[in-house]
Symmetry: C2
């Protein structure tokens, strides 16, 4: 039988570009890998010990749908102390990673045809899942200025979504940029959605949480990157106290979590409390040095126009005449180097994403290869 | 601003009945709780130790989207030895619980207007999420006979979904029933979807896996109930080797997992291999005794027409004239007893779900209360 059993929305998800790179990379035995989207350091052992203690204490059963109260309280304390806004622990939803939250948000709040503004470049999941949901996606460059936003005041958006520090560029959204987005949101009734998963990787102390600037915002906070808990699946969404529209969305996300993710892994939720007490500034300092080294090595050959102030990525423009797909193939074939083609994150095709979450010797070999590839 | 920011599909999810029961139950300090959907025993300590070892060995990062190879191989071996069908480890998808798999399946394969046949009563997530997806849901009683299926041969369904052993009734689908569903599926081009999460709780050795009967089937296997890993979030979906349509669906589910669940919790995947080696027959024997005790105590007062051969539930009909909502309220108020109103699982309103996954003394107190409530 040749029936197609797939939902028609599947045709709007295209993961072929990533598969192409994986297929090319599969031939490499020991690549110089600057494509990785997670820290290169190990999960701190105190977090692993806390997870084990929780499991041995019997925390292996379903938790409340919205997450354990002590973790929601710890998150609320953190939002107050670090992110500069107050939230109600009863209005925080714990889920299985920021991707889970993005998905629950889109399920709960996006209708086909809704107009959504996203910053460009952006994390590929936003665009893929917005397309899947049938939303109409418009973009604004992530280093936008006041005039660009002012010219959009007549546009109607339901949500404005951005990621800061940014994957794939490392760009950190300025406070005034968030204020301008808030003014746009006020003008058109939109809600601000901020993915702040890279917040601790902030090399110039420029990170500002959306929740501290604009009340009608949803703040996504992840554990995966800060403490290398990518395989443990933990994240939280919060909103400044008193915002009814955003709380209504978190409630709907919680209802849907009951039918889908059920709860974040129970012992990991307990480990999350320990993570919040765990200092990673040594790693952040190392990544700052890595970032500096990358900029120093590459600025002669590449255009680094999106200032890499955070996360652990650069998203440079290739030398004139080069395209990302051709460049990535050459890097694999000539240098056994893995980087990510920019078109996964943007409609432009002359950029690559470089991750500097790597050991020093690997990074040095990769930078040397990148300099040679640009020559 | 009074805009409604929710997706319109949210209006098709109704969790008010469950919230009503929770609200009523919240007043109880120490209820006789026969409402729980998970085993009462602790997660076996060797599984917890395996999880900790995996985490300490560094398995805290993203895994492959479809799950670690050793677990997929262990599942394939299990399907071969226990479930009676051969599957390719490369075609097995590991995810974060059966609810996750149901969700990914519906996202990947259900279009609004698709006609889906489900057995009745059924696990509440099926109906809720099928409604959310805009599917047209039709039902067949889970203890259907040959004539009932024969009369449906002209109907067109895209999928036929059932759960065996059943939540909420404990009914175990007979081999010939699965064969009849297979004939119906052949006649109308449908695919069979079997939720087999309770397979080890099978008190008369009657459980038959859909994969051993019908090649065009998707088999959902969970770790949550068998080893009390409900809070650890682990499950697998497989299909008999050689079925192209079902493999196409699992591929689409895997694509969507990449954007949503990302991967099942990494150390839990390693612990899953240990779970598959862990014998729980003592617990199963205890639940068999609990089941027998329930039937013995209740059959004078309630109609147990759906034979409770597995899982850890009964779904009896209340004495004539009683409705589930009124009965559940009386049970809470008069006996501090928690059971689940049947209407959550079926369109009938004269049934309750009783869970006998409980300590002996609690079960005895609950049964005594149930006898008195029926008087």
């Amino acid at each position: 039988m040749s029936t197609n059993y797939l939902a028609s929305a599947m045709s709007r998800i295209d993961s072929s570009e990533i598969r192409r790179v994986f297929a090319l990379a599969a031939s490499l035995k020991n690549p110089i890998n600057l494509s990785i989207g997670q820290p290169h350091f190990a999960t701190p052992p105190n977090i692993i010990a806390a997870m084990d203690k929780a499991a041995r204490d019997g925390h292996t059963s379903y938790t409340q749908t919205n997450g354990i109260q002590p973790l929601r309280e710890a998150m609320a304390a953190r939002y107050h102390q670090t992110n500069g806004f107050d939230s109600d622990p009863g209005q925080i939803l714990i889920s299985s990673g920021v991707a889970a939250l993005i998905h629950l948000f889109m399920l709960a709040a996006i209708n086909p045809g809704d107009r959504i503004l996203i910053t460009d470049p952006c994390f590929l999941i936003y665009r893929s899942m917005l397309n899947f949901a049938g939303a109409v996606v418009e973009v604004i460059p992530e280093n936008f200025d006041r005039d660009t936003v002012a010219a959009m005041q007549d546009q109607k958006y339901k949500f404005i979504i951005y990621c800061s520090p940014s994957n794939p560029s490392g760009y950190v959204m300025r406070r005034e940029q968030i204020e301008w987005l808030g003014q746009l949101a006020d003008a058109c009734g939109a809600i601000l959605v901020a993915d702040e998963i890279y917040e601790l990787f902030d090399y110039e102390n420029r990170f500002v949480s959306a929740g501290s600037v604009y009340p009608r915002s949803l703040v996504f906070s992840g554990f995966s990157k800060s403490w290398n808990m990518t395989g443990l699946r933990l994240a939280a969404v919060a909103t400044p106290r008193g915002s009814g529209d955003t709380w209504q969305i978190i409630q709907a996300m919680t209802t849907l979590q009951q039918y889908t993710f059920v709860c974040a892994p129970a012992p990991v939720q307990w480990a999350g409390i320990e993570a919040l007490r765990t200092d990673i500034s040594d790693y952040v300092n190392q990544y700052r040095r890595n970032r500096d080294r990358c900029v120093h090595m590459l600025r002669g050959s590449y255009t680094i126009d999106l200032e890499p102030g955070g996360a652990f990525y650069l998203f440079p423009r290739l030398p004139a005449g080069r395209t990302d797909r051709e460049f990535v193939e050459a890097a694999i074939q000539q240098k056994e180097l893995l980087v990510v083609p920019g078109r996964i994150f943007t409609s432009q095709n002359d950029r690559i994403r470089i991750s500097y979450a790597a050991e020093e010797d690997i990074l040095e070999r990769g930078l040397q290869a990148l300099v040679e590839l640009a020559a």
